[in-house]
């Protein structure tokens, strides 16, 4: 919160928080509404359980008064109590089952909702969002909500139990009831306070543990530096500090526990002391039976857990509310890029070469104040290949992102085969564009699934054709399980070049009209660049292709070069012409060339 916040800003913020909170609860209500039948069943089970539970000490009391004290028959009482035990046992198990099952189900559905929503949000959102934060929405925040939901049926039966017990106690002996229950509200208050106090400390302990993990992680990953400089002591000192911090926070937590937990345990015992003292004298004066006295003690123990639980659920509810607000914040974000209300379709004439692209007076900036492309006009004929060249940060990758509608232009239009791409359904547009990203992103999945990702219904013939065109078929067959080999971060590790070729196969499997190659050679061992370029050349032929060139060698693949400098097209033409006529072009080329030659390895990898 900034100090300079004005009153109107404060009230606006509070209002926003208020709406978010109420939206959050609305979200929870909506979720629970769908499960209301089962939750109701859970509630009924809980209430029934509570009534039986409360009945047992009553029966025990009668058994003592009538059975034992008055020498009555005992077997009946014993059997009755045992039967009650069966009923409460079954009900208590069921109550637990329903509560946990329903809370997990709500959590599961909410996680799916969150995932689907996030996946549909525009790339501009993802640029700003942190993966870690989204992950914690879908894991720890959902856990808070689950922990709250699970308590709902339990709380319901707890409330009933408290009321029933209190009623029985008051009917039996109002004076004694007051004496016995006097300390109990403090159990509830303490439980709530405890939960609220211990929560921030547990978070702090976790934060300290994360810091210690960082020190260990960097000491292990950077072991060559540590060993190379003999920096073991330096790292040890850092670790010792973190270990001491953890110890400090843990002892704070211990302090809080020692302040609350023994007190919570002991408060009901104070009630029991009162029962013995006051109740005992009332028995002596004949106002109460011994059975009642015993029952009082038993009832007191029945009140302890419900009161603790209710204290806890208040604290849990506060945390769940905060989590709900955070989740609602994500869910209420709407995508900036959407399907049009009325969509056109792309022409699909068989006799026509398709894939003509036109950028018409396009202006764009990721931040509207910082223009990346201005007055950008470019026509690419169907089947033509162009290379986009520019210095780092010149906006050459932006061109492809606009074509994919990862972002919308600030002004101006982009056309594919004569149709404004904003008039097309996103899926239709994107299915017609095959992209190979600069940093090849593959999934932790089989080669087959990675390639057919762009066309899930592809058959094996399609798959092989794409792999062959991309020059990937041969090495795929060499993999341990061929096309069924699991690759990616946790699978078989491929070389940069192999990854690129799989990405190229993925880009062409659905035979798109347009191919975008964000320099597929830049992450590759230079000695393998040639192979990638061969694959690129094959897949480009006869297809509209935009090559975003980060290396000089890639430029040669394209028929025309579009040179972007200072946010707009500085020149268009053949590579040789530009080299001959444009100083700035030569300069940019030279900087690429230089960083390249210094990287050329003499070791054959």
């Amino acid at each position: 919160m900034s100090v300079s916040e004005t009153d109107s800003e404060v009230s606006a913020r509070l209002e926003l928080e208020q709406t978010q909170r109420s939206e959050g609860w609305k979200l929870l209500r909506g979720l629970l509404r769908d499960q209301r039948r089962n939750l109701l069943i859970g509630g009924i089970i809980g209430i029934t359980w509570a009534s039986f539970k409360v009945a047992i000490p009553q029966v025990t009391k009668f058994a003592i008064n009538n059975g034992i004290e008055k020498d009555g028959p005992l077997l009946g009482w014993a059997v009755t109590i045992a039967c009650l035990g069966v009923v409460t046992g079954v009900l208590s198990g069921l109550r637990r089952y329903v509560a946990f099952r329903e809370s997990r189900w709500a959590e599961t559905l909410l996680r799916e909702k969150l995932f689907s929503h996030v996946l549909g949000l525009d790339i501009g959102y993802h640029d700003k969002a942190q993966t870690g934060q989204l992950m914690s929405r879908a894991s720890s925040d959902l856990m808070q909500i689950q922990a709250f939901i699970v308590m709902i049926p339990i709380t319901l039966s707890n409330v009933i139990q408290i009321f029933a017990v209190a009623t029985i106690l008051f009917i039996t002996d109002p004076v004694l009831a007051i004496v016995a229950m006097l300390p109990l509200p403090f159990v509830n208050i303490s439980a709530r306070r405890f939960s609220n106090r211990i929560h921030p400390i547990s978070v702090a302990v976790q934060a300290e543990q994360a810091q210690l993990a960082n020190v260990v992680e960097e000491s292990v990953s950077g072991v060559r530096v540590v060993k190379g400089f003999g920096a073991e002591q330096v790292q040890f000192d850092k670790l010792e500090k973190e270990a001491n911090d953890i110890f400090g926070e843990a002892m704070k937590a211990a302090k809080i526990r020692s302040n609350f937990l023994p007190a919570i345990d002991v408060l009901p015992a104070l009630g029991a002391v009162g029962v013995l003292g006051v109740g005992g004298h009332r028995v002596l004066s004949g106002q109460l039976s011994i059975g009642d006295l015993v029952a009082f003690n038993v009832y007191l123990t029945l009140l302890v857990w419900p009161l603790r639980n209710i204290g806890m659920i208040v604290a849990l509810g506060q945390r769940a509310a905060a989590a709900l607000v955070r989740i609602q914040e994500v869910l209420s974000t709407s995508s900036e890029i959407n399907d049009p209300a009325v969509a056109k379709t792309l022409p699909s004439a068989a006799n026509l070469q398709l894939g003509a692209i036109k950028f018409d007076h396009v202006q764009f900036g990721y931040d509207p104040a910082l223009v990346v492309l201005k007055n950008f006009n470019l026509e690419i004929a169907a089947g033509e290949s162009i290379a986009i060249v520019g210095a780092t940060g010149s906006g050459k990758s932006t061109v492809a992102r606009l074509l994919l509608r990862f972002y919308d232009t600030n002004s101006g239009h982009v056309f594919l085969d004569g149709i404004d791409i904003r008039k097309l359904r996103l899926a239709e547009l994107r299915q017609q564009i095959g992209v190979v990203f600069e940093d090849t992103i593959l999934f932790n999945d089989t080669v087959t699934n990675n390639i057919s990702f762009a066309k899930p219904n592809a058959d094996h013939a399609d798959l092989e054709r794409a792999a062959k065109l991309a020059g990937a078929h041969d090495f795929i067959l060499q993999l341990p399980n061929g096309y069924d080999t699991v690759i990616g971060e946790r699978g078989f590790s491929l070389s940069g070049g192999q990854r690129q070729r799989i990405a190229i196969a993925r880009a062409i499997i659905s035979d798109p009209r347009v191919l975008v190659l964000d320099d597929a050679t830049s992450a590759v061992d230079p000695s393998k660049e040639g192979e990638i370029r061969d694959a690129m050349r094959t897949v480009m032929s006869g297809r509209t292709t935009i090559v975003i060139a980060h290396r000089p060698g890639t430029i040669a693949l394209a028929e025309r070069v579009v040179f972007i400098d200072e946010s707009s097209i500085a020149a268009i033409g053949k590579h040789d012409e530009l080299v001959a006529t444009n100083d700035r072009y030569r300069e940019v080329l030279a900087s690429m060339e230089q960083s390249k030659s210094q990287q050329t390895p003499v070791s054959a990898k």
Binding site: Y97, T108, D265, F453, P552, S595
Partner: protein
């Protein structure tokens, strides 16, 4: 709490292992033995007071109420109040002492394991994956913190409570004790089965939570690809599969607990039913008093709760045992490269001489180097080239004693590196790894990695020595700029500059460089080259080279192929040989011409 631990079958300890571990834990906990004794004392007092309450109640009922003696009743009430206060006071102390003991132990354990990890040589780090080592220091130690916070306390008090309760019950009435214990076998058997089943279910849940998180993360990090290919629906469908299978695992684990909790509840009520039925019959026959039966009904929970608690702790204890076992095995591993007891300081300068060394990594039987000899004179520059895996990096590492050779020796100024003090070794010979690895902290902190006692002036002059003063002066916070995790705030080139400044701070006689193969931003590339040149000036240099420009600058080039030095000489000499080196140079020329 009901599925706290989680331990897979292969991690389960044998009885002998468990005994050793317990012994070692006590040895490690020796420094805070006093707190442990105090904890024990508190447990005993608070258990005794908790248990004495029902006895006092019995006295109040039998000697006070039934005997119509209000004096006895009042005495009981006062005594009860005293006992309750004691329970409270000792309960508080107990929390403090037990937590202090446990957390102190974890702290000592963290420090000891980390210290031992730091002492290990590179070979240890080759054998153990980084992730596993981090897990030892984090997840494995943290898995014990629940035990420390609640478990230990529960274990002690539940154990004592059970023992005391049985003793008290026996004193009150042995007949009723037998009745109370009738349901015990059912309870114990059920608890054991439950622990086993819930452990199994928990392991499945844990695994699926991990898989679900990975699926989630993959979805978020690959969103650009998913959207580019319009495969959102497919991605959601796949995520749902993982998400639903996680739900199924949760559901299964709840089901496991359902019948158990039902049974627990039932057996408690059943026991009091038996007490009323049979106990009442005893009262009728005059064997026991009514007060005794009442005390028994009240004491039943003191008997059942500890059994339940102890069985629930079973898994927590098991998994803590498994974690300790892994941690102790780290504490037991001997560092392969260690300082000799009679080590001496290396001379200021001298020739670096390798004589007939052979070396094989533990992981592979094939030798990485065989009978290699080479010497590098003072101020000489040696480039090591060769195919990946031929042993050039290994040779460089042996020259800095990151490993010890199996045979042969490495000498500096006539002193065998094995006989040198670690301090002097790291001061004379410095390795600058391929990528500038930075630690969380400021640039200054990162230089101090090399020399913890360096003054600010020394740090600044190290930066100046590599000509990077101006570059870092551009930063708003200068050398106090936080580099963030892994130095992510800085560019690759800037990280490399910091790494070179580190070496300059040490001012070593010998510099061992592993040249970077990856891209640097063109802006700082030149600066790094320049810094490297200044750093190499006047020092003995061994460089694992990947660039022709570097090789050409070297005084001599050693081509390592097949675990041996295949060729040795200058650039021109080796080209003339028309062997390995000429081939490598050709490959370079070829890849250049395709541009």
């Amino acid at each position: 709490m009901w599925h706290a631990g989680g331990v897979s079958d292969e991690d389960r300890l044998s009885r002998a292992q468990a005994r050793t571990i317990i012994g070692r834990v006590f040895k490690m906990a020796a420094p805070f033995r006093k707190t442990i004794y105090l904890s024990f004392a508190c447990v005993i007092v608070s258990t005794a007071t908790t248990l004495s309450a029902p006895i006092i109640v019995r006295h109040g009922i039998d000697a006070g109420i039934r005997a119509k003696n209000s004096g006895e009743l009042n005495k009981s009430v006062v005594l009860y109040l005293i006992v309750v206060s004691f329970t409270y006071i000792f309960g508080r102390l107990l929390f403090v002492f037990v937590n202090r003991t446990g957390e102190s132990f974890l702290r000592v354990l963290r420090l000891a394991v980390f210290r031992q990890m730091q002492r290990q040589s590179m070979a240890f780090y080759d054998r153990n994956k980084a992730g596993v080592l981090v897990a030892r220091m984090t997840a494995d130690i943290e898995s014990m913190s629940e035990l420390v916070q609640f478990g230990l306390l529960q274990f002690l008090s539940a154990g004592l409570m059970l023992t005391f309760a049985i003793v008290v019950l026996l004193v009150l009435s042995w007949q009723l004790t037998i009745i109370a214990l009738i349901v015990m076998p059912i309870l114990i058997l059920a608890s054991i089965k439950f622990q086993r089943d819930s452990n199994k279910a928990y392991l499945v849940v844990r695994e699926r939570v991990g898989a679900n998180l990975s699926a989630l993360q993959e979805g978020i990090t690959t969103v650009r690809v998913i959207q580019a290919y319009a495969q959102e629906q497919e991605a959601i469908r796949k995520f749902k599969i993982s998400n639903r299978s996680l739900f199924a695992a949760h559901e299964k684990s709840v089901r496991v607990s359902t019948w158990y909790f039902a049974l627990i509840e039932f057996s408690g009520v059943l026991a009091s039913g038996l007490m009323i039925g049979i106990g009442g019959w005893f009262v009728h026959r005059g064997t026991v008093t009514l007060g005794t039966v009442v005390a028994f009904v009240l004491l039943l929970s003191s008997l059942f709760d500890p059994v339940q608690q102890l069985s629930q702790l079973y898994n927590t204890v098991q998994s803590a045992g498994a974690a300790l076992n892994k941690l102790f095995s780290i504490l037991d591993s001997k560092p392969e490269v260690d300082e000799h007891p009679a080590a001496i300081d290396l001379p200021e300068t001298g020739e670096l001489k390798v004589t007939g060394i052979s070396f094989a990594y533990a992981a592979s039987p094939a030798p990485a180097l065989e009978e290699v000899s080479i010497s590098v004179g003072v101020g000489e520059k040696l480039a090591l080239v060769g195919p990946t895996g031929a042993g050039k990096s290994t040779l460089a590492k042996l020259m800095a004693r990151l490993y010890d050779p199996q045979t042969g020796m490495v000498e500096f100024g006539g002193v065998n590196l094995k006989m040198a003090t670690m301090g002097s070794l790291r001061n004379r010979i410095v390795v600058v790894p391929q990528e500038g690895f930075l630690f969380n902290g400021t640039i200054r902190d990162n230089l101090r990695i090399a020399r913890a006692d360096a003054t600010d002036a020394e740090i600044e002059s190290a930066i100046a020595a590599i000509g990077a003063t101006e570059h870092f002066a551009q930063f708003a916070d200068g050398l106090d700029t936080q580099v963030r995790e892994r130095g992510s705030r800085l560019s690759a080139g800037e990280r490399q500059l910091v790494a070179l400044a580190r070496a300059a701070l040490v001012d070593p006689a010998v510099l061992i460089l592993d040249e970077a193969t990856s891209n640097l931003d063109p802006g700082t590339e030149a600066e790094v080259e320049h810094a490297l040149e200044r750093l190499m000036n006047g020092r003995t240099v061994i460089v694992v080279a990947h660039r022709l420009s570097t090789v050409q600058r070297a005084d001599k080039i050693a081509v390592i192929a097949g675990a041996q030095i295949a060729e040795l000489g200058t650039h021109t000499e080796l080209l003339a040989l028309n062997g390995h080196y000429a081939q490598l140079a050709n490959a370079w020329a070829l890849s250049h011409s395709t541009n």
